[in-house]
């Protein structure tokens, strides 16, 4: 049985005179010990997904429908005391900014002991011992000393390790990490990613990793959900999605990365930008930015279809697939014939790519 099973989750925000749909019928399963990534740009609803899984949505947001089955219990229907039992204890959350997640006026030790004693009947000394063990697990040198320190005395990477240690304190079954490495430097990010991967595999903890960085998803997760304007538009094994994306948006997202283009050449950009929540286009939300959009895309919301190894919500996947195969053959042949582009050509190409 899946550890977490989200069915048709809809989250709305009550605005002045209308309500705005932030999540529109999200469904996915997560097995025990599985690591999935939720990818999307800002405004896609990926952070709101993370918060609603713990029912941490506060006014004016509310869960409008759907189920969040965690170990068979529906979180969407739970009251606060039951939720408190689940939060921290069985599900933990790691946030983006390690500078603000820790309480600046309490020592690391106080924060860890407090978390433990809120959920477990342990003495202060026992709690400290557990805290030290956990700090060691996240490779923090001399953990006994760290317990007496305040957050501001530690570096960003160290703080994020401590946040991970706190998340692991109660041995949760699921960790939701919202952009856990975005605020960190590249070399520190790599360390933290290694650490999280190691902890998840050795402790059999499930992970939901929310990020905008496809590289991070690629290295951390087994399965990926791609979100756009409050819906999951593509999901499947991470490898498949990155190597062979089906949805035009996912393709665009991957192709827009500088690594995918010869240096100096114009990048393959997606025109336009993510719609704001109160102004989501009719039909497929991506159609105004999509090169393959047809009349049907403008009126009819695409349903999720199994296509090869992935599930895609797009009307035109099949046509696209056929076209892509042709384009690949032509492109390869052309590339072989032309060799590297001359600078004059690249200047021309650049002049053509005026922003939307």
């Amino acid at each position: 049985m899946a550890l977490l099973s989200v069915k048709d989750l809809t989250v709305k925000f009550a605005m002045r005179d209308q309500s705005v749909t932030a999540l529109n019928g999200i469904s996915f399963d997560l097995a025990k010990g599985e690591r999935i990534g939720i990818v999307g740009e800002s405004g896609a609803g990926k952070s709101i997904t993370g918060f609603s899984l713990m029912k941490l949505i506060s006014k004016p947001g509310y869960i409008d429908g759907g189920q969040i089955l965690f170990d068979g219990q529906d979180i969407a229907q739970m009251d606060e005391p039951a939720l408190r039992e689940i939060r921290g204890n069985q599900m933990a959350m790691i946030f983006q900014d390690p500078m603000v997640t820790l309480n600046p006026v309490l020592t690391i030790g106080e924060q860890m002991v407090e978390t433990l004693r809120a959920h477990r009947k342990v003495s202060r000394e026992e709690a400290e011992q557990i805290a030290i063990v956990k700090l060691r697990e996240v490779y923090i040198p001399s953990p006994e000393e760290r317990l007496r320190q305040y957050p501001h005395e530690l570096s960003g990477g160290m703080r994020q390790r401590i946040i991970i240690a706190i998340a692991l304190l109660l041995e949760p079954k699921l960790i939701i990490a919202d952009e856990p490495t975005t605020a960190l430097d590249v070399t520190i990010q790599a360390d933290i990613m290694d650490l999280m991967l190691e902890l998840c595999t050795t402790n059999k903890v499930s992970l939901i990793l929310i990020t905008h960085d496809l590289g991070v998803v690629n290295q951390m997760t087994e399965r990926t959900l791609v979100m756009y304007a409050g819906r999951i538009i593509e999901s499947g094994r991470t490898r498949e999605i990155i190597n062979d994306p089906q949805h035009p948006y996912t393709q665009g997202l991957i192709n827009a990365l500088p690594q995918q283009t010869v240096p100096g050449q114009p990048l393959k950009q997606i025109p336009g930008s993510m719609p704001s929540l109160n102004n989501i286009p009719m039909g497929c939300a991506f159609h105004p930015r999509c090169a393959y959009a047809t009349a049907r895309c403008k009126t009819e919301i695409p349903s999720t279809l199994r296509f090869g190894a992935v599930e895609v919500a797009c009307h035109e996947v099949e046509r696209l697939k056929a076209g892509e195969a042709r384009a690949n053959e032509v492109g390869l042949a052309k590339a072989k014939a032309d060799g590297p582009a001359t600078s004059a050509e690249s200047a021309n190409a650049l002049a053509d790519t005026t922003g939307s």
Partner: protein, 314 residues
């Protein structure tokens, strides 16, 4: 993108609509605004509304002195709020007094704002020694209470110029004294705002474009510091009205021939034990209500304009 921007065009001024929207949603703000508008309009049009001219001693009749308000026994229908010991119509006196109090309050705040904003901008933007100097001056100024400074200044000038000259220029004296005494409030707020705005990249961008300090201060930073200026202005108007009333109450303000609210309250004080409670109480109520609604409006405005609550539609 076109779809998105067309909606943003329709609500072309988000800031404004947000302001108006929260006003409509706040009963306290609406009631305060209505009460304030009534008082302000009545004060503004006092010469047309007032039954008699309370400055013209020739119109008073000593026979009408100390008449109670109409709803009391012995009330006279000519005098809605009764009369004072000289037979002056209280309603007219209150209308004219409110007019004076509001005038002094607003003008004094204008003086404060001008001084405070200029000093705050310069201190915050230039920084360094000049900043320290100006802010220490503000600290010293604040460590004297407004009333103490005003009392000393007004008492000394009354002694020097003599009562007649003083009475002639009393209104300007009050405006200047209250204005000068309270500039540090503005200077501190503006300086804090400038320090926060100065770190933002649009200021750097203006510097890279080669703009001079005056242009950056006035054209770029000041418009972004207006919200807190509005908020403290309301509170300061209320404070200035109270300061003026207190000074007049102490006999250091407006002359008895042109009574402001404070002086009316004070002049009725001697008669309160003889049963003529209305001479003090009615102007007192007007003063309290006026200051209260201004403060309530200021509170509401602070909640709306608070940049920490207002994040825009990013």
């Amino acid at each position: 993108m076109s779809a998105q921007t067309s909606t943003t065009a329709r609500r072309s001024s988000f800031w404004q609509s947000n302001f108006v929207y929260s006003f409509r949603k706040s009963p306290v703000a609406i009631v305060s605004m209505i009460v304030f508008a009534l008082i302000a309009l009545a004060a503004l049009f006092a010469p047309w509304i007032a039954p008699v001219d309370p400055y013209d001693q020739a119109l008073f009749d000593i026979m009408d002195s100390e008449l109670p308000p109409v709803w009391q026994t012995y009330g006279d229908p000519r005098f809605l709020f009764g009369t004072d010991p000289q037979g002056r119509d209280m309603l007219s006196a209150i209308l004219y007094g409110t007019r004076l109090s509001l005038l002094i309050g607003v003008c004094a705040v204008a003086v404060q704002a001008f001084l405070g904003i200029s000093i705050g901008l310069i201190a915050g933007y230039i920084g360094g020694r000049l900043d320290s100097l100006l802010m220490r001056m503000a600290d010293i100024q604040l460590s004297f209470s407004t009333l103490m400074v005003a009392i000393i200044f007004l008492a000394v000038s009354q002694a020097i110029f003599g009562s007649d000259t003083f009475n002639k220029y009393a209104i300007f004296m009050l405006i200047v004294v209250i204005g000068v005494a309270e500039w540090p409030q503005y200077a501190r707020t503006v300086r804090a705002c400038v320090l926060a705005e100065k770190k933002k990249e649009y200021v750097d961008s203006a510097r890279v474009l080669g703009f001079g300090p005056l242009r950056i201060m006035v054209r770029h930073i000041l418009p972004n510091a207006l919200s807190p200026i509005f908020v403290i202005s309301t509170v300061q108007v209320a404070n200035a009205i109270i300061s003026e009333a207190s000074l007049s109450f102490l006999g250091l303000g407006m002359p008895p021939s042109q009574p402001s609210l404070g002086l009316l309250i004070s002049s009725g004080f001697d008669y309160i034990f003889s049963g003529s409670w209305w001479i003090t109480t009615i102007p007192g109520v007007v003063l309290v209500v006026l200051v209260l609604v201004i403060n309530l409006l200021g509170d509401w405005m602070r909640d709306v304009l608070n940049p920490r609550l207002y994040k825009g539609d990013k």
